[in-house]
């Protein structure tokens, strides 16, 4: 039984197809990577899979639930969490509070409870704080527990988004170019973190430009070109596929290979 499944998923912007009739399925517990040249539709696909865009056609299922056309917060409630390529951090809060926001779906309370700050809420808040701190340690942000988000460096903010996404207790975690802008050491750490998440039986969808990271961590790779599926399979197979090489390097390179 697949965790996430799409059927003929399409998205058009003013007559131009950014994603065109995509069907694929992601099994639980795997790292599923989506790659492709610039403009292949990777970010559009991620926005479709989190409800930020409504599809022009096709369907999205999480388990048995049809999420097609739902709002992003409903995707989140169903168990889809994500990070952003261009950071979307709450810079008006502390790092810890950023992660606590991720626990909204678990900790939400009535307006009266919030206004009166009942003892039960105060207890729940302490537990929430502790869980958020735990997640920050998990992603390697122990030294930033007391920091304001605006004071943190870029690499740490990327992890902060991962911690916030994990705080929703997702069934599936979508990472949008987690290695972009990181140096080699930081990138290795992100790779290790993804490995750690999988060992905790998380399902990870990875959109990434860095081939080394993709080849290192992926169980399955989907290659997009012009919004269509160019190839899909295990990392090693995909890397040798002449169509993939052509899309990335041009047809001459494919013949030489």
């Amino acid at each position: 039984m697949s965790l996430l499944r799409t059927e003929g998923l399409s998205k058009e912007f003013g007559g131009v197809s950014a994603v065109d009739g995509l069907s694929f399925a992601i099994s639980p517990g795997m790292v599923y990577s989506i790659i492709g040249p610039n403009g292949a539709g990777k970010t559009t696909l991620l926005n479709l899979l989190t409800g930020i865009y409504a599809p022009s056609g096709g369907r999205i299922f999480l388990g048995d639930t049809d999420l097609t056309g739902r709002a992003p917060h409903e995707f989140a409630a169903a168990g889809v969490a994500r990070t952003f390529q261009n950071l979307q951090v709450f810079f008006n809060m502390s790092a810890l509070e950023n992660v606590m926001v991720g626990r909204y779906g678990r900790e939400r309370c009535s307006l009266a409870t919030a206004l009166l700050r009942t003892p039960a809420l105060a207890r729940a808040e302490r537990a929430c704080r502790e869980k958020a701190a735990e997640l920050m340690r998990l992603v390697g942000l122990a030294e930033w527990l007391d920091a304001r988000a605006e004071a943190m460096p870029y690499g740490a903010l990327k992890r902060l988004e991962i911690a916030r996404a994990l705080a929703t207790e997702p069934r599936m975690l979508l990472l949008d170019e987690p290695a972009a802008g990181l140096n080699a050491a930081e990138m290795r750490e992100i790779g290790e973190l993804i490995g750690k998440l999988v060992s905790r039986s998380h399902t990870v969808v990875l959109v990434e430009h860095n081939m080394r990271l993709v080849m290192d961590v992926s169980d399955q790779v989907l290659v997009l070109d012009y919004g269509r599926k160019l190839a899909e399979g295990a990392a090693k197979e995909v890397r040798r596929d002449p169509r993939v090489i052509e899309a990335y390097l041009g047809s001459a390179a494919a013949t030489v290979h």
Binding site: H73, Q88, F90, R108, R117, R148
Partner: protein
């Protein structure tokens, strides 16, 4: 001890209580009391408005409309229908909450300048209705409002009003601090930080925007009801567009996303024009200069800037 004093939930709250309790020692005549009561009522509106503007990152240039609806609702029900003032206040508040919900649903889909325009309309409509529906409101001449009655007694005298408004301000600040530190409050702050990230974290942004709009309208409405009973007379001249702008200015001047900032902003901008009367003809010039100077040198507003200076290196290191 220092951390206890530095925490807004304890230190700031203790300071607010102390100021409200100590102020009568220096309020030597009724005029001072009157200014203090106006400060309190403005501060109640500003604390609510700050939830909307400062924390949730939305804008309203029409909150004087909700203030006016509370005022006229209380005035009409208690003067024309002989309702007990407390019941009139309650019904006016509920009606304003419902209205804010109905208005908020469509207009809070707008952002930035467009939202400002739409909310501006709310305030303008209320003041026009108040000025033209003279059978109900007395038209431009206004209408008298009976005194407020509480527990069988009539609320009269500046001292008694000071206590009631002071108490309500404390309650308002307490509710606001509680809300901001709750999951709901974090959701509101997340909206102004990044709406898309809030949504993918499971927060229904439309619902929360409407929620905070309604809460801020309720605070304004209650203050309006009390203002009507306190002054004993209400006219549309209290509901000008300019007053909406003043309310937003108080919030920004005191410091957005700071509950105490809203209180301080209301206090400073309500009393400053009174103090500046010594400049006679140059009163407005002096007020404008002070406001410009403050925003240039304290762009985050009074309270957050002073906190940052007091915190010094702590803030620069990123420790809250």
């Amino acid at each position: 001890m220092m951390s206890w004093l530095a925490s807004p939930r304890t230190g700031g709250f203790a300071a607010l209580l102390a100021v409200i309790a100590a102020l009568p020692l220096v309020l030597s005549n009724n005029y001072f009391y009157e200014v203090a009561i106006l400060v309190g009522l403005n501060a109640i509106v500003c604390v609510g408005l700050n939830l909307l503007i400062g924390y949730a990152g939305q804008i309203s240039l029409g909150h004087v409309g909700f203030f006016g609806l509370g005022a006229y609702g209380s005035a009409i029900l208690s003067a024309r229908y002989d309702w007990p003032p407390l019941a009139a206040l309650a019904v006016a508040t509920i009606a304003v909450a419902l209205l804010a919900y109905v208005i908020g649903r469509p207009i809070l889909r707008l952002r930035g300048h467009y939202l400002a325009m739409a909310t501006l309309g709310v305030g303008v409509i209320v003041s026009i209705v108040a000025a033209t529906e003279d059978r109900w409101t007395g038209g431009p001449d206004g209408m008298p409002v009976p005194p407020f009655k509480l527990f069988g007694g009539t609320l009269s005298g500046e001292g008694a009003w000071y206590c009631v408004v002071g108490f309500l301000l404390v309650v308002t600040v307490w509710l606001s601090l509680n809300l901001i530190e709750s999951p709901t409050g974090r959701a509101l702050r997340a909206l102004s930080g990044s709406e898309v990230a809030a949504e993918v974290s499971g927060i229904d942004s439309a619902r929360h925007k409407v929620l905070v709009f309604v809460i801020s309208a309720v605070f304004a409405s209650v203050a309006g009801s009390l203002f009507a009973h306190y002054s004993g007379f209400i006219t549309p001249s209290k509901l000008t567009f300019l007053h909406s702008i003043e309310l937003v200015t108080m919030v920004v001047f005191g410091g957005v996303a700071s509950t105490y900032g809203a209180v301080v902003g209301a206090a400073v901008l309500t009393t400053l024009p009174q103090l500046l009367t010594v400049f006679k003809d140059y009163e407005m010039v002096a007020l404008g200069a002070i406001m410009m100077g403050t925003m240039i040198f304290m762009p985050k507003g009074l309270v957050p800037s002073l906190q940052a200076w007091a915190g010094g290196s702590r803030v620069r290191k990123g420790i809250p």
